[in-house]
């Protein structure tokens, strides 16, 4: 398939408002790079030829309609679903070499919130995830977990069973668990979904704080109204990369038209045919 005809992949972008003391220097590998990544469920491709580079720490949004493959891209990035082609690199290195430097916040609905653990238990999962086999949480891990709970404003709910939290609180528990990994790149799947407006602002403030501390935050997001305000740079995705770059230049009406109305059915139809092992009509 001709990549150029299907999309106009973004080139390495540097959000304009970022401080000039960007860590990117000539010859230094980019923070995060997807090189021609294709993902298929079974034989059905759901994400075609993603070619995208993030060079500086920023708040990076992955935007697109339902079924566009946003979450899939995140999961492929973390090796949770296999790629059918292409590669992902962090600081020029493969996933296996950098896993401890990554934090992941999955979608809130993916877990059973009636599970018998309390808030502290969940955050400790992040704090202790670097310890190897047979090691148990010690004082350092507990203090770290407590500090992370404090950062998301849930310090006084440490002992509460997770099923008795509101949606926004549950999302912040997940965020605290990722913070407890003390990562350099955070990948979040729909961190604002099902969260009330004031919790959204709090979560956004925490993410902005991470960015200001020099971390890269990549978040899957579907709400265009807030995307423009929150993200420094975005990638518009609809089974392929439609456009990528600084938010103001990417969220244009023609790009949105292409993303939200412009799947043209071609990739859909092609995916069906590939899944069948057949030709399109």
């Amino acid at each position: 398939m001709n990549k150029q005809a299907e999309s106009q992949p973004g080139h390495p972008q540097q959000p304009t408002h970022l401080p000039a003391t960007s860590p990117l220097q000539a010859g230094q590998p980019p923070l995060l790079e997807w090189h021609d990544v294709t993902v298929a469920y079974g034989r059905r491709p759901v994400l075609w030829h993603i070619d995208l580079t993030i060079t500086t720490p920023c708040l990076y949004g992955i935007i697109g309609p339902n079924g566009a493959g946003k979450s899939t891209l995140l999961k492929a990035t973390l090796g949770l679903v296999p790629t059918a082609g292409g590669r992902v690199q962090f600081w020029g290195q493969p996933l296996a070499a950098v896993r401890p430097r990554l934090g992941y916040v999955p979608q809130r609905e993916t877990v059973d919130w009636d599970f018998p653990v309390n808030v502290m238990d969940v955050v400790l999962m992040g704090a202790t995830s670097r310890l190897g086999w047979f090691r148990r949480a010690g004082r350092r891990e507990r203090e770290l977990a407590r500090a992370c709970l404090d950062r998301v404003g849930l310090a006084d709910l440490a002992g509460r069973q997770i099923g008795r939290l509101s949606g926004g609180q549950q999302q912040r528990v997940f965020l605290a668990r990722a913070l407890a990994r003390e990562a350099d790149i955070y990948l979040l799947d729909e961190p604002m979904a099902g969260v009330d407006a004031s919790s959204q602002e709090e979560i956004f403030a925490i993410l902005a704080g991470l960015r200001d501390a020099g971390k890269l935050v990549v978040a899957v997001h579907h709400d265009l109204r807030t995307a423009a305000r929150w993200f420094d740079a975005v990638a518009l995705i609809d089974m392929r990369l439609v456009a990528a770059g600084p938010t103001a230049t990417v969220l244009t009406s023609s790009n949105l038209q292409q993303t939200y109305a412009g799947r043209l059915g071609i990739l859909d139809e092609l995916s069906d045919a590939v899944a069948r092992g057949d030709r399109t009509s």
Partner: protein
Amino acid sequence: MMATWVSATPWEWLAAIGPMHGWAVATAAVVSACCAMVGTVLVVRRLSLLGDAISHAVLPGIVVAVLLGGRPGDLGVLVGATAAALLTVALTEFFHKQAGLPEDAGVGVAFTTLFALGVLLVTVSGSRIDLDPGCILYGILELVPFDTVEVAGWEMPRAFVSAVVVFLVVGSGLWLTWRWQVFTAFDTEAARAAGVPTVAVTVGLLAGVSLATVAGFEAVGAILVVAMLVVPAAAAELLVKRLHHCLLLAVGLAVMGAAAGYLLAWKLNTSAAGMMAVVLGGEYLLAVLVAPQQGVLARGMSSVLYAWRVQCEDRLAAAWRAEEAGQSAPLPASLVAAAAWWWLRVQGRVEPAQSGARLTSQGRRDAELIVRSHRLWEAWLGRHAELPVDHLHPPAEWIEHHLGTRLRQRIEADLGRDVRDPHGSTIPPERG
């Protein structure tokens, strides 16, 4: 017989059990503790059905190991059984992923096939092995004390020794990998993303299940093993809300159920395995009744308390409205209302007066807030919900018991100053 049993003192009772039954009880207790430990994790991972499957599917592994010269309770048999268990899981995955079968159906196909294969192997090999299909289903707990081995000079039942070994292995395995077991069970994808070897953690758990199952197989049979895996864990998860508490409680419930079930069966002269499963089921029922949040009693209690609060608040509000209209408080019209009046008097919110009763100053303040909530809600609904005026009272009669200070103020701000309710009454101000 029943009479002597009931009248005996505990000590006589214990002495009457004797070493034979004592060993049987001890074996049953250790076996059920093993099963409850792994069962706790299985149940929260929604893998109960897989535990069921494993407990049946280990049979061909046991038979093959026995045919190759192992003896029930030996290490070789444990290995064979674990291999068969993992084969079940692999087959299930295969049916699910490759053949597109729903996962539960895949489990159903895999374990019934393997179990049937085991039954065939037992019957075909006939006298060459001493495994009886009936024993496999129901166990031979009563015969456990007669097959003994010597350990450090002590003669002990073989099944007890292997159960203790399995308990130590499974227990320490869980203890050492607990952190990862919890993370994987709660959120497998995030655990994988964080570098937890989730496949190894799961395989380890399933190997533990098959070990516990094999330990239980000989003693209590395939059917009861399923009960021991699932029932105490399910009961414990109703009662406590952290996974390691669940595990400890499940072990306690399982041991209690095993001991009580065995002794009851002995006294009533019936199947030990069957009675243990019945006792475990009884424990689960009890847990359903007394569970702190979702329990039948707790929910019943909270609806009764709610109804009582509503009743008391309605009495207060009625008295306030009567006062507003310059009348005396209405007499209670029902027994419940009379009880509510009595309770309000005990609380000092109403006091006796010449014509019946009147509100105290505390009672007046409380009543005012309820009437205020009622009228605010009527006004708000009237403005925002397009309801005819005569439909506003019932919803307000309900919501007046649920509005707090902050929301009342928000509603008031939304309505603006000096608002009356849709019936023209003034809305009392907030003065808590």
